[in-house]
Chain length 305, copies 2
DNA sequence: CAATGGTGATAGAGATTAACTATACAACGC
DNA sequence: GCGTTGTATAGTTAATCTCTATCACCATTG
């Protein structure tokens, strides 16, 4: 029993004439005749009464035809589903973002994506890089926004933008008179750091090797976010390093904080998109990339493909 | 897209492993692999993400699999319908009976059929032979009970029983003293006849050729039934001829009527079943025949096959 | 870093199935 | 009877399905 057989069956039930039904199915009369006979044998049921005058459907035949129509209808739905799902910009996209990007990127990203792909709702999750990578590989996420380096088997990454680091200090801090801060001097200040797991923490420590070795005055704040650290800096608890997208928008309306760049060469992080090599909706990822690049993130420089 | 393809699809969605899914479908891995690929091409949609680690279903793939399961379920229903409908004694049987048999046969027939085939309800229609034949050929009826001769192209008949004719007269009628009535004497009495269209009318007239030529005292009662004629006879309106199944049960409790047989050779009618040659539920017809033969119809003689 | 094992894709051969054309067969109507 | 109409059957061709064997890929492991 194939879907073709069922189509023949339904056609014959409608036409009540082998020849006409065959014509409607674009096959020869013997083809349809044989198919119906085969179907009757397979089901061990007489579906039609053939006579010279005409073709009559049996009671059981009518019931089976009705069911066959239901099957064909449902089968047709598959094609419709496929057609609807063919657009990579249709259907939800599961996006992961690291904690140190999400709060600054998402407010810009969401409206832009919604405009570019109205029928692609975003399901967003913030987490550590390692957790995001796990979810991505498992298929719980479709694309993640992370900082490089990021290497995983089966995962491709595409750099999107570079983002310089800034020093954030309380207003009135001694360094406020400097135009730019040397990375080496970070070890001299009480540096507030994110907890382990945040890649940004590691990147900051890389900027200041002495801090990593524990020789500085840095303090690790487990369970904190850049925002909570910023508030702590505002109260004079220490200084910190922020990515420009988090730091630059601040001072305008915030009298308690001062932001300074690093002296060249400025340390920076490279933010990238990552997805499974096998992920088929590349169009959706393009939309995300474009939306990120058109977002007004302070201080960032696009990375050409 | 075939039902087999859909089975492969569903299996793969369940197993998430081409080899295992193929095994479950009793095919080789390449077979399933190729089938899935073909399906994806036909639908122009990626259903699965293949990677070395595992097989992930895409969102659209999951939706299509759900639909495929629905299709397979409905298709399975066809087989169940066929299994259920394979029994010729299941499902309603559309029976037609001529007016001059129905009232005497059906009360006996129905309980017997119900006992022999409890899941075969009877849909019964009484009508003239010609009308029944038309309905039978059209497929509105499955089997009819008529009197022979009955010849129709595409219709087979099977004689069931012979039924002698009787003369019915009012109690106290002059012929009451006779043991048997000669057919030729019918022309001498006011004979009440059914309207045209009733085959029994013609058969009675055949018994009495003089009546046919209009030389007797007979009166045709259009729109009547044997029962109404019987009541008329009881009031003394005339005499009539009845089949034994209608006549013989009467006199016992009916002081107003007398019944007499004809002199040998008794005229009789041969009652038969008729159905389309193509009708597949011959088992159902056998049941009807048996039920008729086991019915206690007065005076009838079974006709051997 | 090379070897290994597991997994899906591909190639080519063989068998099955489905389709066609031609024709037989059956039933009715003239 | 004989032609017409309509379905079934035969035989052939073509498409398709399925198989075995093998490749290619990747991730793990010694």
């Amino acid at each position: 029993m194939t879907l073709t057989d069922l189509r023949y069956l339904v056609a014959l039930a409608r036409e009540r004439h082998f020849g006409h039904a065959a014509e409607r199915c674009n096959v020869s009369q013997p083809t349809l005749s044989v198919a119906i006979k085969k179907l009757e044998e397979e089901l061990a049921v007489t579906l039609f009464e053939r006579s010279a005058a005409d073709v009559k459907i049996t009671d059981i035949g009518a019931r089976i035809v009705a069911q066959a129509e239901k099957v064909l209808l449902e089968a047709g739905q598959i094609k419709e589903l496929a057609t609807a799902g063919r657009d990579p910009l249709s259907g939800p996209l599961k996006v992961g973002v690291i904690y140190t990007i999400g709060p600054y990127l998402l407010p810009h990203l969401i409206p832009r994506v919604h405009e570019a792909a109205p029928s692609m709702p975003l399901l967003i999750q913030e987490n550590y890089t390692a957790r995001l990578a796990e979810s991505l590989k498992r298929g719980d996420l479709d694309v993640i926004v992370v900082a490089l380096p990021f290497e995983e088997p089966g995962i491709v990454t595409q750099a999107v933008y570079d983002e310089p680091f800034r020093v954030l200090m309380p207003a009135g801090h001694a360094w406020e008179k400097e135009d730019a801060i040397a990375a080496s001097s970070l070890a001299e200040a009480p540096l507030l750091l994110l907890g382990a797991g945040n890649c940004f923490r590691d990147q900051v420590l890389e900027v200041c090797p002495m801090c990593r070795s524990g020789e500085g005055l840095q303090r690790t704040l487990e369970g904190s976010s850049l925002e909570t650290i910023r508030h702590m800096v505002a109260t004079g608890a220490g200084i910190t390093v922020l990515p420009s997208s988090a730091a630059d928008p601040l001072p305008n309306g915030n009298a308690l904080l001062s932001v300074r760049p690093f002296v060249a060469p400025e340390p920076f992080r490279r933010v990238a998109l990552a997805w499974r090599v096998t992920y088929p909706r590349s169009g959706a990822i393009d939309v995300i990339r474009s939306a990120i690049l058109s977002s007004p993130l302070a201080g960032v420089r696009a990375v050409s493909r």
